[in-house]
């Protein structure tokens, strides 16, 4: 039993944190969010140099073969700094390519992702599917020379920035994945609540070649579940970083803001509330450890899913609790767009529901738990 990061993990987390503190401070981030692209090519290049883009990808393509635990410190730093780069989207799609792709697909995509020259997205969610990964109506029909995709994908994170998009679609054999060039897709792009870039994708008679099929036809669901659990573990760690920031900045405010002639932190009504925020932070951190430790090293799929769901229940509750309290304890200032804490509020609000809210995971946990008895 040990809860330490290894030396490499700690070094990487520290250097990412230093880089973000210097070149991704809140003012810089504002400019990045307001830019046309909504992300920073320089930051992406630096992250690639540091090995962050290659970390979760196989060594044979220049990556480091890292798992969720290796990424925890990085994700925490991202949560602290509110990084808006399409990292999560790229990692999810890249890991699908790594898991399912043939040599040509892996060779054409993964080295470029590792080097920071290619960003990706995963187009899976559909209107009305909520968090049910098995619900896919988008259809892929075999046509001469390949496939034709028909349907709609919504809230595809990072899609406006991605050179290639992994699209899920149902074929005669079940849910399948296709690696599609950005140029072949019609996007309605927008900003998300947490100031990232996403798009709805309308697929109308989109033709792709036979070589676009990623992995076995009809075999995508377990892979989607796996990569979604992995991503869930990552956002749990990211949430811990954001929660920590929200707690620290609120504590600082309680010590400096004066009312009735004294710092408001002298009021017990507020002291107990910030203590509960810190307790939520510790409990969330513990569960983020559980999720990361089991996301890619679990003995069984069931064990992985139980751990990830348990973690996401706690993280989702903690995201809501801490984000709401951090705004409340800041008073009117917490509402202001000017303060970073309101942006942290927005990210935590999204994470609470990303890849399933607490209720979704309560349902999954209960089903798995009952199944095991």
């Amino acid at each position: 039993m040990n809860f330490d990061y290894s030396e490499e993990q700690q070094l990487l987390a520290d250097s990412v944190r230093r880089f973000l503190a210097k070149d991704y401070d809140f003012e810089t981030r504002k400019k990045i969010v307001a830019s046309d692209e909504g992300c920073s090519a320089e930051a992406w290049a630096t992250l690639a140099e540091m090995g962050v883009t290659g970390l979760p990808l196989p060594a044979e393509f220049g990556g480091f073969g890292g798992g969720a635990v290796d990424l925890m410190g990085v994700m925490e730093a991202f949560g602290d700094a509110l990084v808006v780069e399409p990292y999560l989207a790229t990692v999810m799609a890249a890991r699908l390519v790594a898991r399912a792709g043939n040599e040509a697909q892996r060779g054409s995509v993964l080295p470029r992702v590792v080097e920071g020259r290619m960003r990706l997205a995963l187009a899976h969610t559909e209107r009305g599917a909520r968090y049910n990964l098995a619900q896919v109506k988008t259809a892929a029909k075999p046509v001469a020379g390949g496939w034709q995709l028909e349907g709609e994908k919504v809230v595809v994170l990072g899609a406006p920035l991605a050179e290639k998009v992994v699209v899920s679609a149902r074929t005669a054999k079940g849910i399948s994945l296709f690696l599609v060039d950005h140029g072949a897709l019609r996007l309605r792009a927008y900003r998300t609540l947490d100031e990232m870039r996403a798009a709805d994708i309308s697929l109308q008679a989109v033709k792709v070649g036979a070589d676009a099929l990623l992995g076995e036809e009809g075999g995508a669901l377990p892979l989607l579940e796996e990569v979604t659990d992995f991503a869930t573990a990552l956002v749990c760690a990211e949430a811990v970083g954001a929660i920590k920031f929200a707690c620290d900045t609120t504590l600082e405010y309680l010590k400096t803001r004066k009312q009735f002639g004294v710092p408001i932190g002298t009021f017990q009504a507020l002291q107990h509330r910030i203590v509960d925020m810190y307790i939520a932070h510790e409990q969330a951190r513990s569960m983020a450890c559980v999720a990361a430790s089991r996301a890619d090293s679990a003995q069984s799929v069931r064990e992985r899913q139980l751990a990830v769901s348990a973690a996401k229940i706690k993280i989702a509750d903690a995201c809501r609790h801490v984000s709401q309290e951090s705004v409340q304890l800041h008073g009117g200032m917490g509402m202001s767009e000017e303060l970073k804490v309101s942006h942290t509020f927005r990210r935590l609000t999204v994470i609470a529901q990303q890849f399933g809210d607490a209720e979704h995971h309560l349902g999954r946990f209960a089903a798995l738990d009952t199944e095991g008895t």
């Binding site: 039993m1 010590k255 107990h272 513990s286 706690k314």
Partner: protein, 395 residues
């Protein structure tokens, strides 16, 4: 990062678990499982079994009977005690008076009291709270006046857990009322419960259990040699105890056992639709949230332990967090257990009496009532929040 115990730690756990299972008498196990009232003899019987094995005071120095286990082993042992469902080891001697004597006691005091605590010959209780001094402990008024080689004690203690079973009581008493700060002028005194002038009166709680007492002191004469540390320095001793490493304060093992019992029970108990109650999503969601809180508490506990192992620093105020979450979880489980039996929670059978019907079911409501104490005792959870606020957050 590795959340699993090492092979050696697992082997240790298995050894402890096997021994506890083999040596916990069945009647005591049943009594605990059915939430029966544990009396002095029940408690001492289990205490002596462990003492004979050499496991009753693992944290004590080896020369006084400690086991020389490392932090993780001690934690595992304490969790296994809870998990197996043994009677609790009463902390007043083993983890309160004992550590105080080891830290502050004279050689004579150590030699006189420690072996008797270890062997379960003396049953101790704690004289801290007074009618006017609960959370504001330092305002206590029970007075000890020096008279030759003795102190003369007058006053009253309250909420004295198991005072009716005790041979000895360690007390905080006021030896000087003229100090500038109320924390000064307090002394730590060991008092024989058989001393003339002591009256113990039961305080019946809402579960009708016999657990806590009022203890009255009227001109009780105590040898001056029973003063621990220096006169008027009792607050230092009390603070040491508060900060004394209490890594099992979340009582994860016991809650795991209770949660498993609750789940088994809810799987067998029908809900309104005749399906097992555990399939009722409204009940199930509450249950899962408690389960997740308990998982988080266990990992948090282990993280603190790991940190302590690496830094050598006791976790300090963060132990308060374990107390807050641990007791909230204990209460939540008792609440869900009572909820699980629905209308059958109404029959009320005081603990320890002969129940004509299912003793387990009838014990759930009294237990729910009784467990409201957990967020109040040992420093209410509000006091714990004050401690974190002041010590950790600097407010």
């Amino acid at each position: 990062m590795d959340l699993n115990y090492s092979q050696e730690e697992l082997a240790f756990r298995d050894e402890v678990r096997a021994w506890l299972n083999a040596n916990l008498p069945q009647d005591l196990r049943d009594k605990v499982a059915n939430y029966g009232e544990l009396g002095r003899e029940d408690l001492l019987r289990w205490h002596r079994i462990l003492a004979k094995k050499g496991w009753v005071a693992p944290a004590w120095p080896k020369e006084w009977g400690g086991t020389d286990w490392n932090l993780v082993q001690r934690y595992i042992f304490e969790e296994e005690l809870g998990f197996v469902g043994s009677p609790p080891l009463i902390p007043f001697g083993l983890s309160m008076c004992g550590p105080v004597l080891l830290r502050f006691g004279s050689e004579a005091q150590k030699r006189r009291f420690l072996p008797r605590i270890y062997d379960g010959e003396d049953f101790w209780c704690q004289g801290y709270s007074e009618p006017g001094s609960g959370s504001d402990l330092a305002s206590l008024k029970t007075k000890a006046t020096r008279d030759g080689n003795e102190y003369v004690v007058n006053g009253q203690k309250i909420w004295t857990t198991l005072g009716h079973c005790a041979d000895w009581i360690f007390c905080l008493v006021r030896t000087d009322s003229n100090m500038a700060k109320k924390q000064e002028g307090i002394s730590f005194l060991l008092i024989d419960m058989k001393s003339p002038g002591i009256t113990v009166r039961p305080l019946v709680l809402m579960d009708l259990g016999r657990e806590v007492n009022e203890v009255f002191f009227e001109d009780v004469r105590v040898p001056a040699g029973n003063l621990v540390y220096e006169e008027n320095k009792g607050w230092t001793v009390a603070k040491y105890l508060l900060g004394h490493e209490r890594m099992n304060t979340g009582r994860v093992g016991a809650s795991k056992r209770e949660l498993a019992k609750l789940k088994a029970f809810a799987s067998a108990q029908p809900g309104n639709d005749g399906e097992p109650l555990i399939r009722d999503p409204r009940f199930r969601d509450k249950l899962t949230r408690v389960e997740v809180e308990l998982m988080a508490l266990e990992i948090t506990n282990l993280r603190f332990l790991d940190q302590m192992r690496r830094t050598g620093q006791p976790p300090g105020a963060d132990v308060s967090m374990l107390k807050i979450k641990g007791t909230e979880i204990q209460q939540a489980i008792t609440e869900l257990a009572m909820q699980a039996v629905g209308p059958l929670a109404q029959p009320f059978v005081p603990v320890g009496s002969d129940a004509e019907f299912d003793a387990f079911t009838a014990g759930l409501a009294p237990r729910y009532c009784n467990y409201r104490k957990t967020t109040i005792y040992a420093g209410s959870n509000e006091i714990q929040r004050n401690i974190i606020s002041k010590m950790t957050l600097g407010l």
